[in-house]
Symmetry: C3
């Protein structure tokens, strides 16, 4: 579900769950495991596995051309009960916290569309570079009937400020790469065929800095992002209530049916 590509001191973790890199429980688990593996590999000499030419010092999180990730796998999630959804959200939060607290810098190479959970992954990375083109990024949860969870709103605020975080989350806005760069939701845009390369270069640039000073400054500057999860347990039942609300269930089912008809039409 994740293709791993070594690029010198930087490891690319490429989401590989066609057609849309939808975040299933399995993909979330695989991504958490890949982060943990990378942390071990970066630990250096003591790490298992074949010796590396260069010590692992940075990560890039990428997707497929045109589609970074469509977010949570709603069709699958609609088949789960409350315990299943609780497990899903808990592991998703654990993944986000893992990205926030990663000992290695993580640069998001947003290779295409990045709505909802796709955008959420990118919020917690160190830096974000997005492919130019007719792609959209944003937190459109409200449009599928889901209130924005507090930790995700807080991460969005950290990037674009309270005014735009309110505006974009309340309206469920999706924006172009250029607009995302203008407001700080992403740091840069690049031609689609260069976005991974650019993300690797950004990660490699961080990896080349004096390591202890860079790591200590990252920990300090990202401590507020990690601390957002301290209260995340308390908000979980409220997130679940919202998920199983009549409005959310009806809106998500309507969305899934619309997508199924579209696919059937395209397939026919």
């Amino acid at each position: 579900m994740i293709d791993i590509v070594e690029r010198g001191a930087v490891r690319e973790l490429r989401l590989a769950r066609p057609p849309a890199n939808a975040l299933s429980p399995q993909l979330i688990a695989a991504l958490s495991a890949a982060l943990a593996d990378a942390a071990v590999a970066a630990g250096g000499a003591g790490a298992a596995g074949p010796p590396r030419a260069e010590r692992l010092a940075g990560l890039v999180l990428s997707g497929a051309p045109g589609m970074f990730s469509a977010g949570l796998d709603v069709p699958h999630l609609l088949t789960l009960d409350r315990d299943g959804i609780r497990a899903l959200w808990s592991s998703f939060y654990a993944l986000l916290r893992g990205i926030a607290a990663s000992p290695l810098p993580v640069v998001a190479a947003i290779t295409g569309h990045s709505p909802a959970g796709g955008a959420v992954l990118a919020l917690y990375c160190d830096l974000r570079v997005m492919a130019e083109g007719e792609f959209r990024i944003g937190l459109n949860e409200v449009r599928v009937g889901l209130p924005m969870p507090p930790v995700i709103l807080a991460a969005m605020r950290r990037l674009v400020g309270p005014r735009l975080a309110e505006r974009m989350c309340v309206s469920g806005a999706l924006v172009s790469p250029a607009e995302a760069a203008r407001i700080g939701l992403v740091d840069e845009v690049a031609p689609p065929e260069r976005v991974v390369e650019r993300a690797v270069a950004m990660a490699a640039e961080l990896a080349a800095l004096p390591g202890a000073a860079m790591a200590a400054t990252r920990r300090l500057a990202r401590a507020d992002l990690v601390a957002m999860f301290d209260a995340a347990g308390a908000e979980m039942e409220s997130v679940l209530d919202s998920w199983f609300s009549a409005e959310a269930q009806a809106t998500m089912r309507a969305l899934v049916e619309r997508l199924a008809r579209k696919r059937a039409a395209a397939g026919g």
Copy 2:
């Protein structure tokens, strides 16, 4: 003092106190009452009054062409004693908190000049669209001898960030609509004859979203704005001390005399 115009799911509350929509105790009370009425009307079936074709789901707060509101009615307020000013500021704070906590989204249609208290009203709305042209908006309280009250500085910070909030509040700066949009003090500009229409469209767009998810996200994203008033009682006596300081009284009286002479000259 307030003209009410129904526009489908959106109700326009149009300040109508010529010549400048100055905020008198009566206008403040009327606006608070109009907000409360709207909340009741939005409550739906159980609400009194004639049936509506569409359920009320959003508000627009507008002013007169060329003049949104000149802010507090200083000439009148200069006739009040400390108890009178305390009552005025308490009801003004209650109005601001009412806008911040409104169950319906409120979009400000800033139809013209919007200094001091006029700008303050807009700070607490969900969104702000301002008329293009030779208008000015800003918190110029310092220029009339009044220190910025803490809750208002905090709301300004939320829109433009700490650096620009400090700079603009300390210097009492008034800026153009274009500059206001550039720094985030307003969200958009529109031609004067389209500003109400645009605000109604923005409110209607919010009203069309899944209602429970949108409302819960608004509550979350605006909780900090509402919470600013938790400590507002404690700052009230200090606001009153500033109001009755020699500097504030002298500066406000000089301003009022200057305006009176200008009006007399224009009238003669």
Copy 3:
């Protein structure tokens, strides 16, 4: 070490320690003393010294053409032991707190390069105007092996927001005056020969406002900046540990040797 130039109601404090206005213990002490003198002079009639035509009401902190300040005097500091470095950092923090809490507005006239400690001085001023040209400003501490101290990161966040503060501090980025103005690290740019004049005008504009209202609003708007130092004592030993880390010592010594060779080559 500091040239004092009276400019009406504004006093210019011009760093004058060739060649780079590097912050030695002596320069830091002189600057703290100059700030304290200015506060006394602004106190008015009771102050000692010759009578002034105008009451002192604002300060400008400037440097040399092309070089505002190169930051801490690393070659000298490398000769100090832990007690010496503790004294240096304590007095530097006291200076920064003194700028933050200055009863007079302080406008930075960034006359040229302003890396590391040079940029830090400017962060704590009321406003910043920077000379256009091939100059650089930024917090490049990480590039010399020093983690960013928490109070300085917090001040940077206040100007450019958490996203850019993280990005710039982690990568040790130096940026052009135009880029600094775009992101809010400085408020304005001006031609090099006009930067002091412009800073004086900005300080004079503040000085002309109703004094009590302006001062109270400054205190309120800058209270968070001053409060950052409440916990600064607790971070001091960690700052010292970083200073004496193998990485920091090696990186700083390599830098000093590189500079010495460059100077020798230029001198030969």
